[in-house]
Amino acid sequence: MGGLLTEVFIASLLFGAVTVGIPLLLAGLGEQISEKSGVLNIGIEGMMLMGAYGGFVAAYYTESFWFGFLAGGFLGMAVAFLMVLFCVLLSMNQIVIGIALTIGAEGLTALLHHFQFSRTYPRMPEVPTLDIPGLQNIPVIGPAFFERHPLVYLSILLVVFVAWIFRRTQIGLNLQAAGDKPAALDAAGVNVKLTRACAVLTTGFLAGIGGAFMANVGAGLFVPHMTHGAGFIGIVLAMLARGKPLWVLLGAALFGSSLALTTALQVAGLNIPTDVVQMLPFAMVIVVLILFARHSYLPPALGLPYHRGER
């Protein structure tokens, strides 16, 4: 118990927080893009899971992490395509389809895993890292932040990029309008459905990469149902971030640390059931929601399909 605040403990906590935080960040950013455009993407859990499975299989057989992330992204996008087809183009119920995609991905990935690997769980080799010279030698912080796979740096840069898109570009304005007042966007001559379709596909791509990161870097292997609600936490992050990507980053860091506490506590030699620690992030979500719910913001047209000429 005395060793709780040692260097080793903090180092493993930070390292783990980044590892589990990145998928949450990607999911949260992706969901934010969907929600901004007016699509409540409940299927994001399924997109992550599909990305996790596809990303793992691709990386395992090609022995390339990059190829794995790309494959994960495209598989997430494939699930997102179904969401686009049913919810954006055909205006079907976003919640029903979202649940269906999540359940379907759970079943399908578990089935495929069973037929592919039977009951074995092959592992990925060690993650290659891009070390940042100078910074990597800082004790505690160095290994956690500056000796990571390049995707970690890219994901954090993505926060800035998405913030720039939202604030400074026409695309950002279009997205915002599609969620706030789709009719106005339509009147301005921009295709609402196309805007939303692109947003959802982007979400799928990011969620898929997040899932692949979870499998390949986080766990090093694929286990059925492994996302365990990470996609849903992504939805909460997007909801509380009120359309601001930087808040998604902060939220992902917070929830990432609480998830990482499991392994860190075990490193510190504290033996509590993993279930106790698995409760932490969700308990945290509930507490955060109770405290800050009044500050959460969702676009007015969220979840409503757009029909031209209907009021």
């Binding site: 049913f86 995609l101 359940i103 759970e106 849903f232 279930d275 969700f282 509930i286």
Partner: protein
């Protein structure tokens, strides 16, 4: 009438066909699989009893979802409510049975389970009424929390030290819910049928049910009509969770007698398409639940016998939901054409 039959049958058939194609792609014979499922889930006497036993918790969950969905509330937190209620019964029953007759034990356990599940729905209800926060997310979060919490409870305070596997103490078979006639079917199926009929009656024939439906179809109109939307929302959550909790109690008191750690049948999301297929109709849901129970029980045998893991049922459920939404959409389209 023909139309509504088609609207129900088409999604089921489509899901079975597309699911069959997936099986075929995985190198399994879909016809053999389905035949085996029907054989083991419906046509064999022991399988049929299993099917009816499985229907009890599914029906109670379905009735809970009908209340919520009719009132326009997405209670997706079923699994957490179900498991915590199950823990309550599993922990309480073996202790109470020492001092009390079994009928009283069962009544008390059911009551406590219902209360526990209700308590687990208070936070989402509060967040929805107070801040208008979407209950989909909050109930999902509560369910993940509840699943882990149930495990903690089984492993730590309620763990039976005499057992090597982490589980609660066991209620003797003779003290569980009574069996029907000479079968292995426990009386939980009667409880669940009564609950389904009661829910259907309340939702369609009483003022209270009508109020809930008004809140469900248009909360703003309900407010203008002078209904206390907040209180009705709390009531909806409580009734819905309570029925789900009763399902958890029945499953423990009727089938298992104990609760093992990491036991999570995850019925919650599986029941949703049944409720949609029945269009929130209490009586219709009984038929679909039976069909689904056949699929589950037969599928469990098939997973051992034919090497198709039970995850396949998840794929079928997802396909069912998608085709259901698709048929609804096409129906809506043809109505619009007729009007135009």
């Amino acid at each position: 009438m023909i139309f509504s039959t088609a609207r129900v049958l088409v999604p089921i058939i489509m899901a079975l066909v597309v699911g069959g194609l997936i099986l075929f792609a995985l190198g399994k014979d879909p016809f053999a699989y389905y035949e085996y499922v029907v054989q083991r889930g419906l046509l064999s006497w022991s399988g049929f009893q299993q099917t009816l036993i499985r229907s009890a918790p599914l029906l109670l969950i379905a009735s809970g979802l009908i209340v919520a969905f009719r009132a326009g509330i997405w209670n997706l937190g079923v699994d957490g409510q179900f498991l915590l209620a199950a823990v309550a019964s599993a922990a309480l029953a073996p202790v109470l049975i020492v001092a009390l007759p079994s009928w009283l034990t069962i009544i008390i356990c059911c009551g406590v389970s219902i209360a526990v599940a209700m308590a687990w729905s208070v936070v989402p209800a509060f967040l929805k009424t107070r801040y208008g926060l979407n209950e989909i997310i909050t109930t999902l979060m509560m369910t993940f929390l509840g699943i882990s919490f149930a495990n903690v409870l089984v492993k730590l305070p309620f763990n039976d030290p005499d057992n090597t596997v982490p589980q609660t103490m066991t209620l003797p078979v003779t003290d569980r819910l009574g069996r029907l006639f000479d079968t292995t079917i426990h009386s939980g199926i009667i409880i669940s049928l009564v609950a389904v009929f009661a829910v259907h009656f309340v939702m369609t024939r009483t003022a209270f049910g009508l109020k809930l439906q008004i809140v469900g179809s248009n909360p703003r109109a309900a407010k203008h009509a002078g209904l206390n939307v907040g209180r009705l929302t709390f009531a909806t959550f409580a009734i819905s969770a309570g029925l789900v909790g009763l399902g958890g109690a029945v499953e423990i008191l009727g089938v298992w007698g104990t609760m093992r750690a990491d036991w999570n049948p995850a019925y919650g999301l599986l029941v949703i398409p049944l409720v949609f297929l029945a269009r929130f109709h209490g009586i219709a849901v009984i038929g679909f639940t039976l069909l689904f129970a056949i699929l589950m029980i037969g599928g469990e045998s098939a997973s051992r016998r034919m090497g198709v893991p039970n995850f396949y049922v998840l794929v079928l459920v997802a396909l069912l939901l998608i085709f259901l939404a698709l048929v609804e959409y096409l129906d809506h389209l043809s109505h619009k054409r007729k009007k135009a």
